[in-house]
């Protein structure tokens, strides 16, 4: 077994010092070492986006990185994005617009959508569809995911509670 490596990461605002195997994927570090099971694993070819988290403010597929590569960085997972008492607008949008069914793709989808709105606060439908192209959902047909992101965009722009229907 390869020698373990010391890493320091800040996850959802909490600093962690861990000894990890060099081959440990970041997603498994989050799920198994830290017990943050909201980040999911849907594939083994980096195609599905279920594992999406924010690394230093940017969306990454956490199955494409080793935990050691995250050393020194700050990570936000779905658990840190918002809580039931204080939902992030994207979380709220998914709830309001029925942007989820089985919920499995949802954490990754929300993290990817939040990242999009950070970069582009008022995306068009086409831009939303394009931005979420790396996240697979087998349940929703994406219709209500698009509406959820539109809802969040409106909400973040101060148009509180206005559902973007079309």
């Amino acid at each position: 077994m390869a020698e373990k490596v010391q890493i320091k990461v800040v996850v959802n605002g909490v600093e962690h010092h861990s000894e990890v195997e060099p081959r440990l994927l970041l997603v498994h570090y989050l799920r198994e070492t830290l017990g943050l099971t909201g980040t999911h694993v849907g594939c083994d070819t980096s195609q599905c986006g279920a594992c999406t988290v924010h690394l230093d403010g940017q969306a990454v597929k956490s199955c494409t990185l080793f935990a050691v590569q995250a050393d020194g960085s700050s990570i936000t997972t779905i658990e840190g994005l918002g809580s039931v008492d204080k939902l992030h607008p994207v979380q709220e949008g998914f709830w309001e617009m029925h942007g989820l069914q089985c919920g499995f793709c949802t954490p990754g989808m929300i993290m990817a959508a939040a990242d999009l709105l950070n970069r582009n606060p008022q995306p068009s439908e086409e831009e939303i569809r394009h931005a979420l192209e790396g996240n697979l959902c087998r349940c929703t047909g994406y219709h209500n995911i698009v509406r959820a992101v539109q809802y969040a965009a409106n909400k973040m722009a101060g148009k509180v509670g206005v559902a973007a229907d079309d």
């Binding site: 077994m1 195997e21 081959r23 799920r31 198994e32 017990g35 943050l36 099971t37 909201g38 980040t39 999911h40 694993v41 849907g42 594939c43 083994d44 070819t45 195609q47 599905c48 279920a50 997972t77 779905i78 658990e79 918002g82 809580s83 039931v84 939902l87 979380q91 998914f94 709830w95 309001e96 029925h98 989820l100 069914q101 089985c102 919920g103 499995f104 793709c105 949802t106 954490p107 929300i110 439908e125 086409e126 939303i128 569809r129 394009h130 979420l132 192209e133 996240n135 697979l136 959902c137 087998r138 349940c139 929703t140 047909g141 994406y142 219709h143 209500n144 995911i145 698009v146 079309d166």
Partner: protein
């Protein structure tokens, strides 16, 4: 009392846990002392296992056990049975771990249990299996050829079963005297369900009580308990608890009894430690039962009035290497019986041959048989309309079953209970602007742009029932459903259902209905599902049965509660039970509104039983077992509009519209969500998805790089509306909506693409319509036209 919730687009109560990452899926669970399993899988589609040397793997640090098929067989673990039998069907054994031969890529030949998943996977590489590769066959029609390699030694011709329905002679006569006939050779492409949550199972053995608990990604935990207890492992049924916690989508693929569930149970007892296995996606591709995979010759006959007189179908339905739980039902009763569709076709005959092949087993995938039937029927209708020079919509209209013909007996066993197809069609045509679309199509064609319009009028038979009927057709299971409604002393209500929600929103929709029935706030109702330790019994969720069957049981149980509550109220109010009315959330003496008791007061008294009718049992709970009288028959019209780029072959979806009739809609948000998702899966089959095998049984599209799921930019916003034709034989008139989208959309998109390609003289192409396939067909046709 509060507003009526039936019909309200309530936000889902299950969502807060999912949007905050606090759901509880099987792979999220960790138990003290838990260890991990990894499977050693055959890389060959067909190979004799000459020897397995586990010594290196055993010696690997951290490995606790290497389990072989021989060991499990010697320990008395039996093969996995199928749950549906036809006369003469061949049911060769299916052992969790094979010990003689591997019969498909991914067949399990050994299992490694180790302290961590990493170690287990590493050690799985160290298991040395001496294979003798054997010739293999992957296509159904090839497997039926003389001399084809046999999948099972005791089924030398590979024929698992043959099946037919309908009056062949009458059909042949109708064809002989037809005005026109059309014939299509169709391949219904094999699909991989790909629920986003990979399968996972976690088993725990409690030595002191000799009890097992299995958490598993399942749509129907009781079916697993029954099969494992009664057939496979001989565990007394009451000593096995099966829990399906949050499950990340199923679409049929999580119905079946899979080998890994047996292996983790066996290992948990052997090691005395909890054992978990979670599929990698690449394992899902070769082990989750696949869907579809038909080779069909389909024919239609009409008379000179454009009335369909007969449909004749001959299908080879690939079963894969083993029969999984409902496989034999799918290409038979769920397929041949649907070939009347929405039409008055008097004569139908369908013959099915189901061969074994060296491929992953094939079973129900969303729609299960009905999408296959709808696809071939609706393709035939379009091709015939074109042959007759009729608009496909007008040809359909001429043949629709009229609203006054119900109940309508089809020539293929089913009796449709209700329907109003033409009104539904008209609504869809008006919404989509059908006439204008056809005009636009004309104009575009002049400009060299190729728009296609695909219309489908579908029927679905779902909520399989009644039990005696399905039993007579071969089901080894009942198809009723149970419910237990338990009122607590404080008036809060637990509802236990035998159906399972893995995305369908039952926790919300069913609670809405219970709150209405009991006239209490919806927050006071909680739905419990997915645990054999908690509910009376259940056959699970598939075949769009949860609302028509499961919810009917719940409603009838709540009505028993109300009856009893009235008796308690009558006692407390010193009135006769028949004088008590249940209104505005209260039980009151008719005409005397201030002589009333609240639901809470009654619940409390039912538990205290201090001031209580002498002849009444204390407590307030009711169980109901509901066996439906008939299937339910949702229907609808779907319209797809596409554009084909002749230079690239790319198909672009421009619009998609559906008007569905699932009876009264409980929660429009949820029902529409089901339709959207179903449409996307159907689009996947039509445009993107195919499990491709080479002739030797190697899967060539075994991951998301090669097997393309629909992504956000493959879809458009879906236009949706509904009509309401209640089911006449269940308490709420509800019908299923889970599969409708998939049943209709594949055919609608296929018809649209073929409509777009009509100017090129292309009559039919097999799905999926990848750019390459479409481009080649266009080139071919252009060359042929140039040569003329």
């Amino acid at each position: 009392m509060a507003e009526k919730l039936f019909g309200k687009a309530m936000k889902r109560v299950e969502d807060p846990r999912f949007i905050t990452g606090t759901g509880n899926y099987t792979d999220d669970m960790t138990l003290p002392g838990m260890v991990h399993a990894a499977m050693v899988r055959s890389p060959y589609a067909h190979a004799r296992i000459k020897k397995i040397d586990t010594s290196k793997a055993q010696a690997h640090p951290g490995v606790l056990a290497v389990i072989t098929g021989q060991e499990m067989k010697d320990a008395g673990i039996n093969s996995i049975p199928t749950g549906w039998l036809h006369p003469g069907i061949k049911t060769p054994p299916h052992y969790a771990i094979t010990f003689d031969k591997a019969r498909h890529v991914g067949d399990i030949v050994a299992a490694v249990i180790a302290e961590t998943r990493q170690i287990a996977e590493d050690a799985a590489q160290l298991v040395e299996v001496d294979y003798e590769p054997l010739p293999a066959v992957s296509l159904g029609s090839e497997a039926l050829k003389p001399g084809a390699p046999a999948v099972h030694d005791d089924v030398p011709d590979n024929v698992c079963f043959t099946w037919s329905i309908g009056d062949k002679e009458a059909v042949d006569r109708a064809f002989a005297s037809a005005y026109k006939t059309v014939k299509l050779k169709l391949r219904n492409n094999r699909l991989v369900p790909n629920a986003m949550e990979p399968r996972a199972s976690l088993a725990q053995y409690h030595k002191a009580s000799d009890e097992y608990t299995l958490w598993t990604t399942s749509q129907n935990p009781h079916i697993h308990r029954l099969l494992i207890a009664a057939f496979i492992m001989g565990i007394p049924e009451h000593k096995l608890r099966v829990i399906a916690p949050d499950v990340g989508g199923g679409f049929g693929s999580k119905i079946y009894q899979y080998p890994e569930e047996i292996i983790v149970l066996y290992a948990a007892k052997k090691l005395g430690r909890p054992v978990k296995w979670t599929a990698r996606r690449s394992e899902s591709f070769v082990t989750d039962s696949h869907g579809r995979d038909h080779e069909t010759v389909a024919e239609m006959a009409v008379d000179q009035n454009g009335k369909i007189t007969a449909v004749r179908v001959d299908t080879i339905a690939n079963m894969g290497a083993y029969l999984t739980t409902f496989a034999p039902a799918v290409p038979t009763y769920l397929y041949g019986c649907l070939l009347a569709g929405t039409y008055t076709t008097p004569h139908i005959y369908c013959h099915v041959t189901a061969p074994f092949t060296h491929t992953t087993p094939v079973d129900a995938y969303r729609g299960a048989g009905r999408p296959e039937a709808t696809y071939l029927l609706e393709r035939l209708v379009d091709v015939m309309a074109h042959e007759l020079g009729m608009d496909p919509v007008e040809f359909r209209r001429k043949n629709l079953i009229p609203p006054d013909a119900f109940p309508y007996q089809t020539p293929v066993a089913l009796q449709y209970d209700s329907g109003n197809y033409e009104a539904n069609l008209d609504k869809a045509l008006e919404m989509v602007g059908y006439k204008q679309l056809r005009q636009q199509q004309e104009e575009w064609r002049k400009q060299g742009r190729y728009m296609g319009i695909g219309v489908v009028t579908y029927i679905e038979a779902c909520g399989l029932a009644p039990s005696a009927l399905v039993g007579s057709l071969g089901a080894q299971a009942g198809q009723w459903e149970s419910a237990l409604v338990r009122v607590m002393p404080t008036g809060k209500v637990e509802v236990f259902t035998g159906t399972h929600s893995h995305g369908q929103g039952h926790e919300t929709a069913f609670a809405q209905v219970v709150a209405d029935e009991l006239q209490i706030p919806v927050e006071d109702v909680v739905l419990v599902h997915g645990d054999t330790g908690r509910m009376p019994y259940g056959w699970g969720s598939y075949g769009s049965r949860s609302a028509p069957t499961g919810l009917s049981a719940i409603v009838l149980a709540t009505r028993k509660i109300i009856d009893k509550a009235k008796k308690i109220a009558a006692h407390l109010l010193e009135a006769a039970p028949e004088d008590i009315v249940h209104e505005n959330g209260k039980f009151m003496v008719k005409g005397v509104p201030d002589k009333a008791k609240t639901f809470f007061e009654i619940a409390l008294q039912a538990h205290l039983a201090h001031n209580y009718p002498a002849d009444l049992e204390p407590g307030l709970e009711a169980t109901h077992f509901y066996d439906p009288k008939n299937f339910v028959y949702p229907f609808g019209t779907h319209v797809a509009v596409v554009e084909v780029d002749p230079e690239t072959g790319k198909v672009k979806l421009l619009r998609y519209l559906s008007v569905d009739d699932c009876g009264p809609v409980i929660n429009p948000l949820i029902a529409e969500g089901q339709v959207h998702g179903g449409i996307a899966q159907g689009l996947g089959q039509a445009l993107l998805e195919e499990a491709v095998y080479d002739p030797e049984g190697q899967i060539l599209s075994g991951n998301f790089l090669e097997y393309t799921l629909p992504r956000a930019d493959d879809l458009v916003q879906i236009e949706h509306d509904h009509t309401v034709t209640p089911c006449p034989h269940n308490p709420l008139g509800v019908k299923g909506i889970g599969e409708a989208g998939t049943i209709a959309s594949t055919a609608a998109i296929a018809n649209a693409v073929m409509d777009a390609l009509r100017p090129f003289g292309i009559v039919h192409l097999d799905m999926p319509y990848t750019p390459e396939k479409v481009w080649r067909a266009i080139q071919h046709s252009r060359l042929a036209q140039a040569a003329d």
